[in-house]
């Protein structure tokens, strides 16, 4: 089975995010494969280990995304990386990105697509659904369990209240992966070495039959703002009784939580 995985790089979840202008300050930020996409990669690799086939990564981004995707994708079992890069995609919206990915996935002839349920930076959860629509395939979102025999699948999803839903169907289909689906493996040195030589297929829009007009954004991010700074903590003084009394007073009258 030929599986496509849509993956992007996002700031390491430990990174300090500072808004500057209409974006974030990228200085000193470490870029890694989006953690939810790591579940998607692992599930795809596990699936081909059981059923044969190959895992192909697809991303939209400039050259800076290649190294993290080698480390977090090609070094853990991905066969190659298709990097769709085009000036017209620089400020693409979700639909533009989805169009590019769908066109490339289709051209590659994949039989199933895995992606993260969301990216930890954009958190819009739109791209995989749009890719499914553009490919005309069903979408199973926020998957925490997956089985396939190579032509049909059974996916489980945790819906509200801890209820588990089982969705069955036949491939091809698009799946978005959630935490709990698997534990992404560690990249091992021999695979890391091999990943250095694995192929990165660079495509511009023309290569996948699209034009700049096709991906022109219909929505743009117009502003970012940081959460309000937390007020400084306050130290209470006096005897334990006095402090307790003051604390209750503050919780009731200032914080209004009692």
């Amino acid at each position: 089975m030929k599986i496509g995985v849509c993956a992007k790089v996002t700031p390491d979840t430990g990174a300090q995010i500072k808004v500057v202008g209409n974006g974030i300050d990228t200085a000193g930020i470490k870029w890694v494969v989006n953690p939810y996409d790591a579940y998607a990669i692992e599930e795809a690799v596990k699936t081909v280990e059981n059923h044969g086939g190959s895992v192909h990564l697809f991303t939209v981004g400039d050259d800076s995304v290649v190294a993290p995707l080698r480390a977090g994708g090609l070094a853990v079992g991905g066969e190659d990386l298709t990097q769709i890069s085009d000036a017209a995609l620089n400020d693409a919206d979700s639909l533009g990105v989805a169009k590019a990915l769908a066109a490339s996935l289709k051209a590659a002839g994949v039989e199933a697509v895995f992606a993260g349920k969301e990216s930890v930076d954009g958190v819009s959860s739109q791209v995989p659904a749009m890719v499914a629509e553009l490919l005309g395939w069903p979408l199973v979102s926020i998957v925490t369990g997956f089985e396939t025999d190579g032509s049909t699948f059974k996916a489980t999803r945790e819906i509200g209240g801890g209820v588990v839903e089982v969705v069955s169907g036949s491939l091809p289909a698009v799946f978005t992966c959630d935490k709990g689906l698997n534990t992404p493996r560690y990249a091992k040195l021999p695979q890391i070495m091999k990943a250095k030589r694995k192929k990165v297929i660079k495509q511009d829009l023309a290569a996948i039959g699209l034009s700049a007009a096709d991906v022109a954004p219909k929505a743009t991010e117009s502003n970012f703002s940081e959460p309000a700074a937390r007020p400084a903590g306050r130290m209470l003084s006096g005897s334990v009784q006095e402090q307790a009394k003051e604390l209750v007073h503050l919780l009731r009258n200032e914080a209004k939580v009692l």
């Binding site: 480390a71 070495m193 250095k196």
Partner: protein, 381 residues
């Protein structure tokens, strides 16, 4: 880490990140408990093997993952994020215990001893130092005498990392009278009659790593356990010291880096006289000096590792890297403790542990004085 782009490629940074992830998931949450208990669970070995960490630096022909000196530096830096140098030393004792074994290129030894260590099933250690001699390796007195097709070993070894629970001991023994030419390596299984752990030693730092005094009382070891040729022990040891010393430099760099990070975080949030400690100029200058020292030590260590991987045999430079990194670790830890004030002296703070652990660095694997002797000799003095 863009500063080191010319030395580190993706394989290095990926190895470092993997080792760090392993440390954060499997070491950091238990570091305090393991340190206090003076050991760590044996299960950590197979776990580290599963994550691909133990086999780095061992050639693929010997069952390893390949990789060079700089990859090994990355592993240590990543693992040190668990904040327990003792755990890293314990897990890493195969780094010094195995080379003399796989360097024989003997399939029987590789299958029986090397591979099981790389999967984490067995533990190895290296035994050079004795109660009566350390720096002066030519003073080794543990004797191996031929008797039929066996060697009979008598003597004792001191300060042996992982010696308490090692399954076999890569042991430097005296097989002849020549001070250097009379030394050989023997592989001694810990369950042979006559092998015993005389003491588990209590230490200033590296608490989670066991350190043993071992005794050999007429231990019979088959001829085939001789590693390499008789009389080659000293040469093998000197060759392998290079990587051991580089590894200790990496401990120093990592220790200093973590101490700096801890001090940065603490001084930002700790207030005195109405402001954060980090806003006092004296604090800023101190942190600036600490950062400078860390970068200096790291640069030298990476560069030496890089040249070693390119095939250079750098005796003086490795010794310099070890001394610089050891001194940096001690100085930066001292300053970090000072910046944390009373909290820096408390067992619950990471810098307290690091400052104790760092004290080993100018002693183990060749003292700073011996390093200077080597450097001076390389200078033709």
């Amino acid at each position: 880490m863009e500063f080191f782009d010319n030395l580190l490629d993706e394989t290095h940074t990926t190895v470092r990140d993997m080792a760090r992830r392993f440390a954060e998931e499997h070491i950091r949450p238990h570091a305090e408990a393991w340190e206090e208990s003076g050991t760590f669970p044996r299960e950590l070995y197979p776990k580290a093997a599963e994550a691909g960490i133990l086999s780095i630096g061992v050639p693929e022909q010997a069952g390893g993952s390949g990789g060079g000196a700089l990859h090994q530096v990355m592993v240590i830096e990543g693992l040190m994020r668990g904040t327990s140098a003792g755990v890293v030393a314990g897990l890493g004792s195969l780094g010094i215990g195995l080379p003399a074994v796989w360097q024989t290129e003997r399939a029987d030894l590789i299958d029986r001893y090397v591979r099981p260590c790389l999967t984490g099933e067995r533990i190895s250690c290296l035994a050079i130092t004795e109660p009566g001699t350390g720096s002066d390796v030519a003073g080794v007195r543990t004797k191996a005498v031929r008797d039929g097709s066996d060697w009979v070993v008598s003597g004792s070894k001191m300060f042996i990392t992982s010696g308490v629970r090692a399954d076999f001991i890569t042991t430097l023994v005296r097989t002849g009278d020549d001070p250097h030419g009379g030394l050989s390596f023997l592989l001694i299984e810990a369950d042979r009659p006559g092998v015993s752990v005389s003491r588990a030693l209590r230490k200033t730092g590296w608490w989670a790593s066991d350190t043993a005094e071992l005794s050999f009382d007429a231990v019979r070891v088959p001829e085939g356990n001789l590693l390499g040729e008789e009389g080659e022990g000293f040469l093998t040891l000197m060759r392998n010291f290079q990587l051991e010393r580089l590894a200790l430099a990496a401990y120093g760099v990592a220790t200093a880096q973590i101490a700096l990070d801890e001090a940065m975080a603490y001084t930002k949030q700790r207030k005195a006289f109405g402001r954060s400690l980090s806003r006092f100029q004296i604090t800023k200058h101190k942190l600036a000096e600490m950062a400078t020292a860390v970068l200096t030590a790291r640069t030298l260590t990476y560069q030496v590792a890089h040249r070693m991987d390119a095939g250079d045999y750098l005796i003086g430079e490795v010794s310099m890297a070890k001394n610089v990194a050891a001194k940096t670790a001690i100085d930066v830890c001292y300053d970090a403790v000072q910046l944390l004030g009373g909290m820096g002296y408390m067992r619950e703070s990471v810098v307290e542990r690091l400052s104790r652990d760092a004290r080993l660095l100018p002693i183990g694997g060749g003292t700073q004085e011996i390093m200077r002797e080597i450097i001076a000799k390389e200078m033709g003095l």
